[in-house]
Symmetry: C2
Subunit: 303 residues, 2 copies
């Protein structure tokens, strides 16, 4: 018997998220830009604090809860994923990349602080992510610290986010087939979303089968997130998005909507959602409420 | 009785460096840009391979030898420090920063591949540094992996290299006093040079007193390196340097030479060299030949 519907009905994602968000915001406020020169602290904090859905941290925390992980390690991992995400936005918005001036409803970092400061703040945020994962004065097992660094570095680097960005750069005005587009998104946004789920799992002791299932869940929601993002780029306005809408079409970038059309894109997002649900069922983990709810939330954004 | 002079006379730095350099070059060739999209692989490899003195890797390997560390861990740490150094050069050369077109006698990365690729390649090189330190398929102890990540992240980030860069940006046309200039350089170049020495030490089991002494050695040669760099900026030509000479004065950046004058700067470099030698003597470590010789080499560049 599938009891998931019943379980879900008892779980309040808004309440759960509000509690977790409060922890994450406080931790980021405490950890970002401390003891750094003021000219670097300001753009770093501007890039990170007071904005964003914190989806990656939520995935880390939900996954850590599912396997009964170490909460302090999970909070550090949660913030580390957000720092990588934040740095990528700062660099991605720069004039030599997407040249975007609006982000989360505010001027982008280079508009506010200049390009040199934006470049450096992004670089420092990436380093800070690995600092957070390797505390000397916390009693997190060093094997856990190493595993978290390994997962994050791979997701951020040339075989992950940065690699996806590079493919994206090459794809402007190019007609991609769906498999190529999927590969790009698996690297560009999927790798870090999946790593967030796996880093949550790495804060405890997941069985190999559960760890694999969480990886499948992360891959599915990672891709679903991007499909939905492409849908929103054509269906939502800039105020709702907090960033410039219609940017992809304007820049002649391939998207799921441009390749599959709007309705088939929505159908694809739904099937990815179903895959994520199926993976969680197979995980054998008991406490997946937040992971189920986050998968729902990701796809419901599109409607 | 001080037997150092005798020991040094038996040590051939050129031979030692050539052997180590060969290992480092092969490892970098193997590790940089593998399995990444070609458009990212090319600028990453261009930025890293076939150039540079590899001073940071040499310091890692020399320090690891001094404490009898794990050679495989040392090679990974050596390459990781070089990747951080290389990424910082790529970003530092960009138009929004120093806007330099020549590096190691070749066009800079953004001149060759465009600014977007330079930005991304730098980002990916930073991530790769942490990937190299956290192999899943190598039998390096995870506690060692975590310690290496901790040292590197701090040296690269807001309280290290990136922080120093931020101060540097703010200092153009500003009259700094020597303590402020020293602080900037301790962050901008000193932190990573010192971390290289400490990472070498972290590949084995250094006694706390030896670890502290190696830290003092690293701090002294780190600052000496920058003082000598400032001296060379006014005394050497672009061909010899492999980069644009006289750049600091042209950009009205404070340097040791502009603050202390040429002769006092040389004197300061000598006293830092003496400090580094003194630290090694106090370390109680037997096999410091390469560390002594590297300290000599750093200061002898100025003459």
């Amino acid at each position: 018997m599938d009891t998931r519907v019943k379980v879900e009905s008892l779980f309040d994602l808004d309440l759960w998220s509000a509690q977790k968000l409060s922890l994450v915001e406080q931790a980021l406020d405490r950890w970002v830009g401390q003891s750094a020169p003021a000219s670097l602290t300001q753009p770093m904090r501007y890039a990170v604090l007071d904005g964003g859905k914190r989806l990656r941290p939520m995935l880390v925390l939900a996954s850590s809860e599912a396997i009964g992980g170490n909460p302090r390690a999970a909070l550090r991992a949660a913030c580390a994923t957000e720092l990588i995400h934040a740095y990528s936005l700062v660099h991605d918005d720069m004039p030599c990349m997407d040249n975007d001036v609006l982000r989360r409803g505010k001027p982008t970092v280079h508009v506010k602080f200049g390009q040199a400061s934006a470049l450096l703040a992004g670089d420092a945020l990436q380093a800070l992510a690995f600092e957070l994962l390797t505390p000397a004065d916390d009693d997190l097992p060093e094997s856990m610290q190493a595993t978290l660094c390994r997962l994050l570095a791979r997701a951020a680097g040339a075989q992950g986010m940065a690699g996806g960005q590079a493919i994206d750069l090459q794809s402007v005005g190019v007609r991609l087939e769906e498999p190529q587009l999927r590969h790009m998104h698996q690297l560009k946004t999927g790798a870090l979303l999946q790593a967030s789920v796996l880093m949550g799992a790495a804060t405890g002791h997941a069985e190999p089968s559960a760890y694999r299932a969480l990886g499948d869940y992360g891959a599915a929601i990672g891709l679903a997130f991007q499909v939905v993002d492409d849908i929103l780029d054509v269906t939502a306005d800039s105020i709702t998005l907090g960033k410039t809408a219609g940017k992809d079409a304007e820049q002649d970038k391939p998207t799921y909507v441009s390749i599959l059309g709007l309705e088939r894109s929505r159908g694809y997002a739904k099937s990815l959602h179903a895959q994520s649900v199926s993976a969680l069922k197979e995980s054998g983990l008991g406490n997946c409420d937040a992971l189920y709810a986050l998968a729902d939330m990701i796809i419901e954004r599109a409607y």
